[in-house]
Subunit: 191 residues, 2 copies
DNA sequence: GACTTCTACCTATAACCTTTAGGTAGTTTG
DNA sequence: CAAACTACCTAAAGGTTATAGGTAGAAGTC
């Protein structure tokens, strides 16, 4: 009875790979068992079930992205920092589509609180140091940046911009231009 | 043998209701059959399967949103039109979370081409008539608006902004302010 | 080095969802 | 009013989730 060397971590990373290959919602306990050439029930010693597996993948993705974002933003400011952060999300989503959609999984409050989610918020906020924004506009801007990045990436990933000129790479650059200009020129509330 | 009065349309709208109640990915042929108090196999005369059902719900949601967006944008221009369009998406997502996530379903190219997707693009483009944008910036702006709206709505729906000051309603208003300002002041490409 | 103990993985089982095939009872049409 | 159609059925096969309880190999103990 050769042992496959299962563990919660190995299952999580294998699940993440599986997600990237076949899509996050095709990630199933059975498919994972097949990948390890092991019976399904064996996974239940390491993972509580399919929901648990999915949230573990989501947490992994959030951490990985936060790590990359941290590196990318370090030592940069202004538009350069903005572009670095945006590129992290966009590149990650293209290299790891399954993980990226996993990261969008709705987490229950406690899990979310223990996740790398807060790090993402802090990193985005750090970028705003290069721009002159006071509270509460800073928070508004954090949310707007998050929305724009996530929205762009998820629409592009979903094929929303596909096959029509101009290509999405230049739109992405112009989007970064636009967001940079917006932050430098943050408007007062409308009357 | 009383007839339940099934039809593809009734199944689709019932499926949409179900999605709003229990979440789009909990929409299952079995659950729908239960709702009509009918055996599962009976649905397969009206719907090809669970995938077919899901895309029908997605198409319905896209149409409903496009209808609402068309009404909302008519007779408005500039910031007013921008806010009207954004509010349509946001309100729709909050009233019909299941349908909204359904609308994000990745469609195969032919289905997408026959969907209301193009109407959404046209409506967004129509809004830009109130701003002075030439091509290709107009397309970039269409994509940016789509990203910002979708990103905001989906993060808010997923609880991303939850329970932290300032409240999401004012962030939403300030986001509209910001996008309006951005469109009025669209930047030239960075050097 | 034998003995316990832990761990990794197993078989078996039950519940649920999907999908297809083929049948029967209402409803509509000529 | 018979033929044809439609709406719904039973039956069955295959896949996924999940739990309970069992066995073999590895690790620690004397």
């Amino acid at each position: 009875m050769a042992r496959a060397g299962l563990s919660t971590e190995r299952l999580t990373t294998a699940g993440a790979e599986l997600a990237d290959e076949v899509g996050f919602d095709q990630v199933t306990v059975s498919a994972l068992a097949r990948r390890f050439d092991v019976k399904v029930a064996s996974l239940y010693s390491h993972v509580r079930g399919s929901q648990d597996l999915r949230t573990r993948i989501a947490l992994l993705a959030l951490e990985e992205m936060a790590d990359l974002a941290g590196e990318a933003v370090a030592g940069r400011a202004g538009r350069e920092a903005l572009a670095a952060l945006g590129n992290v999300y966009r590149d990650y989503a293209r290299e790891h589509p399954g993980r990226y959609t996993a990261a969008q999984l709705r987490l229950d409050p406690e899990t979310a609180a223990a996740s790398a989610g807060a790090r993402h918020a802090r990193l985005t906020r750090a970028i705003l140091r290069g721009y002159a924004l006071e509270e509460p506009d800073q928070t508004h801007a954090v949310r707007l940046l998050g929305s724009a990045f996530h929205g762009y990436v998820s629409l592009e990933l979903g094929g929303g911009f596909s096959h029509s000129a101009p290509d999405t790479d230049t739109t992405w650059l112009r989007t970064l231009d636009a967001l940079d200009a917006l932050l430098r020129n943050w408007p007062a509330p409308a009357p």
